[in-house]
């Protein structure tokens, strides 16, 4: 009886989409190699039975050439052969390269079922594959599928219990490629197509001049679109809801509670000029929800919508190629741009995605740079909200300072850390037109993740701070740190409370700066300090889990130094 199904295949062939189809478990999929960084498990129900489905990270061969491949190979070798099958997912637009793994799996004596995925796209490319002929030549069942639309999934399910073991003698690498040449020659027919606009764009985006031009255009367009969607959501939806619907209710509550009561202090906070001010009152029902839902959430939505588009179109690997050169100078290679971009959403998925980098040294440099110099979207939204009200010039200034820190710190780390940076070696996927359904599903998944993880911490953080403020317990703390805050950074001593809050949630921390009535220079320095000092505690924890205590301590030392040096320098240099 079959108890487990393993999904194996080359990177970026749609394993995650098939996984979602089989198990109903929603996972994030994109158009680049290495989206899935850990084993995903789910269950498939056929009648009364439950079969475990395991989505293996993408691999080009059944040989342990990298960490993720080692895991996949070891896992498959320890299974009992009559209790599992491997569904080998094959990209039909690229049959030849995919069959290398297929033949290796069959030669290993594993029970294999082939899903010929993306068959609709193959047709567009003028690729016709005779799946029966292919099945004959391989000796295993072959089912054409299109995971995105769900085509062929039922047939695939029907074949699961019919998989037979066959024997195919192992051959040398060279012989295997020769065999593949023969198989592809018989099972696949190519019809000639003229170059399409898409192919022209694909070519142009990996060439020196046109490539950079496209990359700059895309970057600027992305910033503009994120800003536009974010602002529109705020001015058209969230602000009207808060000011027109929610505030009248709170006014009544405020009256009923009476300004002097402790509960009023917790829930509503302080009245500013006799009225509730969502930005400054600092109450559990006022500032806390306003920050999360009216200042940050709109940007979460717009950022992840645009990131999802970039991921699914397939622009990111091309950016990686263009930036390889520069990133080599700071000890990384081109692929590191993907964790960095994910880190702009939230540092945690960014640090997790550094698993795709080969060496521990690279992972340390990338993770440290992400923790220090890549502000998450929650923090960025607050920076725009706070500094943007002075002038866009200051917002750009923050990014400039962070970029300089990146270059300087990266160069220093690259110089002093032992080891070398491996070379870039990756496949570039074709451009694809994203499916709106997949895009929205992914967006929904990420927003849900944000709400579940952020909301409770925000409420807890504001509650804690309010109690401590009420009991005046911060006074001692602010007293000791006052020389540092004032002497070095030129900030009022109360700012330390906001900086400490940054350890829980960066967005709330910026929110706590708002009632302090800082000058523009002070605000700028405080915001930069929040960005470059410790990342939030959740990122800290992931850093520790991924890279170990020693690396975390080293990184923490770097963070403290960078914060002190940058804050001090800005205070000296700015007028």
């Amino acid at each position: 009886m079959i108890k487990k199904i393993f999904l194996a295949g080359n990177p970026n062939v749609g394993k995650s989409v098939i996984f979602s189809r089989l198990t109903g478990v929603q996972v994030i999929s994109s158009n680049y190699a290495g989206t899935t960084i850990e084993l995903m498990r789910g269950f498939l129900k056929i009648g009364e039975e439950e079969i475990e489905v395991i989505d293996l990270p993408g691999t080009y061969s059944f040989e342990p050439n990298s960490k993720s491949e080692e895991v996949a190979v070891a896992l498959l070798k320890e299974q009992h052969k009559d209790e599992f099958i491997v569904i080998n997912i094959v990209d039909s637009t690229n049959l030849e390269r995919n069959l290398y793994l297929t033949l290796q799996l069959i030669e290993e004596g594993l029970p294999v079922l082939v899903a010929l995925n993306m068959c609709d796209e193959a047709q567009h490319h003028g690729v016709a594959i005779d799946s029966q002929k292919l099945s004959q030549l391989l000796g295993v069942a072959v089912v054409p599928t299109c995971a995105i639309t769900g085509l062929g999934i039922k047939t695939l399910l029907g074949e699961i219990n019919q998989v037979k073991l066959i024997s195919r003698p192992p051959v040398s690498h060279r012989q295997r490629w020769e065999e593949i040449g023969v198989i592809v020659g018989q099972a696949q027919q190519l019809s000639h197509r003229h170059h399409t606009l898409r192919e022209l764009l694909e070519d142009a985006s990996v060439r020196p001049f046109s490539g950079f031009f496209i990359a700059i255009f895309v970057t600027v367009a992305c910033f503009a679109v994120v800003r536009f969607i974010g602002e529109t959501l705020i001015t058209r939806i969230s602000d009207p809801i808060f000011f027109n619907l929610y505030q009248p209710l709170l006014n009544k509550l405020s009256l009923a509670l009476g300004q002097e009561s402790f509960i009023h202090h917790l829930l509503i906070g302080d009245l500013i000029n006799g009225a509730i001010d969502f930005r400054q009152s600092l109450g559990l029902l006022t500032t806390a929800p306003y920050i999360e839902f009216a200042m940050v959430l709109p940007y979460i939505i717009s950022f992840y919508f645009v990131l999802g588009l970039l991921e699914d179109i397939g622009i990111l690997p091309r950016l990686a190629m263009l930036l390889d050169n520069i990133l080599h100078r700071i000890g990384l290679h081109g692929f590191a741009i993907i964790p960095v971009l994910l880190g702009l959403g939230c540092n945690i998925p960014g640090i997790l995605a550094t698993r795709n980098l080969e060496s521990k040294r690279e992972r340390f440099i990338a993770s440290t740079l992400i923790s220090i110099g890549v502000p998450c979207v929650a923090l960025q939204a607050m920076i725009v909200g706070l500094l943007g009200s002075f002038s866009g010039f200051y917002v750009a200034g923050v990014y400039l300072v962070l970029f300089v820190i990146w270059l300087v710190l990266g160069t220093i780390l690259n110089y002093f850390m032992k080891g070398y940076s491996p070379e870039l070696l990756m496949e570039i996927p074709p451009y694809r037109i994203p499916s709106l359904q997949t895009l929205l599903r992914k967006l929904f998944l990420r927003i849900k993740g944000f709400l579940i993880e952020a909301a409770p911490i925000v409420l807890l953080g504001v509650l804690l701070v309010n109690i401590l403020l009420y009991l005046k317990l911060f006074d001692f703390f602010t007293g000791i740190t006052a020389p540092l805050m004032h002497g070095l950074f030129g900030l009022p001593k109360e700012a330390v409370v906001a900086l400490a809050m940054g350890f829980f949630r960066k967005d709330v921390a910026v929110g706590m700066l708002m009632p302090l009535a800082l000058t523009i220079k002070q605000t700028f320095i405080a915001v930069v300090l929040l960005a470059v000092s410790f990342p939030c505690v959740a990122t800290f924890f992931v850093f520790f889990k991924e890279l170990g205590l020693k690396a975390l301590l080293k990184a923490a030392l770097v963070m403290i130094s960078v914060a002190i040096i940058t804050g001090g320098l800005l205070n000296l240099l700015m007028r």
Partner: protein
């Protein structure tokens, strides 16, 4: 017939791979991606300034770092 590196190969030109950098792990990895001695590849682009090289292997586009591409020798017309 000339023997040149992948970096030197002109854009849109074809070349047959003659030599691949040393190292069993790297060679295996390249092999599994379809890059091996005797394989014909088409150069797509070189970013310049010691940046990476893009080549077409079969139907896929592969990007190789400069150090690697500079050690891959191809034979071309």
């Amino acid at each position: 017939m000339k023997k040149i590196t992948l970096v030197q190969l002109k854009e849109k030109h074809k070349g047959v791979i003659l030599d691949i950098p040393q190292g069993a792990v790297l060679q295996n990895k390249l092999m599994s991606m379809g890059i091996y001695k005797g394989r014909e590849v088409t150069k797509i682009s070189y970013i310049g300034l010691k940046g990476p090289v893009a080549i077409k292997v079969g139907r896929s586009v592969m990007v190789l770092g400069y150090g690697m591409a500079n050690k891959i020798i191809v034979e071309t017309q």
